[in-house]
């Protein structure tokens, strides 16, 4: 015997309500204010102290103080935001949106001005507990 299940009402209701999915990537949801998206650096503020390199749990950041080069492997980054929290000059940020899909593995390399040798000691104190 045919029996109407309690689910039937929900299914019929769904037929006449707004779609729950969106045709991504043509329609993209507004990102949340605090979302941790792509990592970027204001390279002009960077003092190349290498704290982000040492604290990163996935070891995706490398800093070359002599050349003034900051490099991040976006495929190894886990978007935890630890580097952002430990940076003494607060020059690391997360964008609200994700990095677009890529077919080739490219590093994010930022070339800045390497600090002069005399300013080595002013690299800032390492914040604790992060």
């Amino acid at each position: 015997m045919f029996k109407i299940t309690p689910m039937t009402a929900t299914v019929i209701k769904n037929l006449f309500t707004r779609k729950s999915t969106r045709p991504y990537p043509h329609v993209v949801r507004e990102p949340f204010e605090l979302a941790r998206g792509e990592l970027y650096i204001d390279i002009n503020d960077c003092i190349f102290c290498s704290i982000c390199e040492r604290k990163c749990p996935s070891q995706c950041i490398s800093v070359d103080k002599k050349k003034g080069l900051w490099t991040c492997d976006p495929f190894a980054c886990v978007y935890c935001g630890i580097c952002m929290g430990v940076c003494p000059t607060r020059c690391l940020h997360h964008k609200k949106t994700w990095r677009p899909v890529a077919t080739e593995r490219e590093m994010i390399s930022m070339q800045g001005t390497p600090p002069k040798a005399k300013k080595k000691s002013s690299a800032g104190k390492e914040p604790e507990g992060m």
């Binding site: 299940t5 689910m7 605090l34 990163c56 886990v78 978007y79």
Partner: protein, 358 residues
């Protein structure tokens, strides 16, 4: 009658993760099930030797993709105990909020997969649609959807504003309403009952004897829940473990559904009683000695053992996940059932294999 051995898994449509079962059959009836693991071992415990204790929080979060927050919390609780660090009350409440949100989305994920395992696709989509609200709460408050990285030794890394608290409460009200609309389907629908009632029975004595944990244990009538130990702010919140007596797949399904509603109530209580103040205690030094910590994951009791030698790296980290404890009960559930019911019963313990193999 001659016996046939059928391999079940490691790749099977019903399994999200690889586990292999050697099923010995007599006609269509299972007489013996031998589980085999080892397909997704990553050696995360060993990483404690090269990653310091602060970096290990992000590593242990990746032990399990679904209950990542609870892994990190268990890790932090153990080390805080070893170093005598007391997190501020606000951080303890916030930890409960996020861990219960993880429990809600983990149970909703499982309920959807369970519906999918016996072909109830409409219910599967409906439950995952509800789950999206919880994922949005995670992303809006912590920054990421699943691996939210909010724990830190001595507290949490993110705070909730009054506006966010109001928004979370309104979202959870909607989740609760939508779940209650599905309650009669999940608990009374004949398609679900015909595939689950009386299937894969684990008696109370057997569950206790084999060391089952979590909803698998509570579905067999044992009222044990690690949250009763009152870690974090749970000692200030009211809740009773959800217990069912039947011990079959349906009882485990019911326990998880009712626990989802219970977790919504716990988040609400925690948000209501959220004290003001700091979210992190500052501390110095490195851990030394041994410690253990236990918390309740969506799948059951999670156990961490730590051995530290006063340096920034741990000497030994041992993680016992709930699925590891639930595999012997699974092997005891399978004999005597039909082959067609095996996928549903395997899924009824909510197996998380990458968690088990670490």
């Amino acid at each position: 009658m001659s016996k046939t051995i059928i391999p079940f898994g490691p790749q099977h449509p019903v399994l999200p993760e690889p586990i292999h079962l050697s099923l010995t059959l007599e006609d269509e009836i299972v007489v013996e099930a031998l589980p085999a693991l080892g397909y997704v071992h990553r050696g995360l415990e060993k990483l404690c030797e090269i990653r310091d204790i602060n970096q290990m929080i992000q590593v242990v979060e990746r032990v399990c993709g679904i209950c990542s927050k609870i892994h990190a919390q268990c890790f932090c609780l153990g080390l805080e105990k070893m170093m005598n660090v007391e997190p501020p009350p606000r951080a303890e409440y916030l930890r409960v909020v996020w861990s219960e949100l993880h429990r809600i989305h983990s149970h909703l994920l499982w309920l959807g997969l369970f519906a999918d395992s016996f072909g109830f696709e409409a219910l599967f989509y409906q439950l995952w649609k509800i789950r999206e609200r919880v994922m949005d709460i995670n992303e809006a408050t912590a920054g990421n959807r699943v691996i939210i990285s909010v724990n830190v030794l001595g507290g949490v890394r993110r705070d909730l504003s009054a506006e966010q608290v109001r928004w979370i409460t309104s979202q959870l009200n909607m989740v609760e309403q939508e779940l209650k609309d599905l309650q009669s389907t999940i608990l009374d629908d004949y398609t679900i009952r015909s595939r689950t009632v009386g299937k894969g029975i684990l008696t109370r004595e057997k569950a206790y004897e084999l060391g089952a944990v979590g909803p698998t244990l509570r579905g067999s009538g044992v009222a044990q829940d690690c949250r009763q130990l009152g870690s974090s702010a749970l000692k200030h919140l009211e809740f009773q473990p959800v217990v069912e007596q039947d011990g079959d797949s349906f009882a485990r399904n019911k326990v998880r559904f009712l626990e989802t509603l219970q977790s919504i109530s716990l988040v609400r209580q925690a948000l209501k009683g959220l004290p003001k103040g700091e979210i992190k205690t500052k501390f110095k030094g490195s851990p030394e000695g041994e410690a253990v910590s236990r918390v309740e994951q969506p799948r059951g009791e999670l156990f961490y053992y730590f051995k530290a030698n006063g340096t920034k790296n741990l000497e030994r980290l041992r993680i016992r996940t709930p699925t590891f404890a639930n595999i012997p009960p699974l092997a005891a559930m399978l004999p005597g059932i039909e082959l067609a019911d095996v996928p549903v019963i395997v899924l009824s313990i909510d197996p998380c294999i990458s968690c088990t193999e670490r």
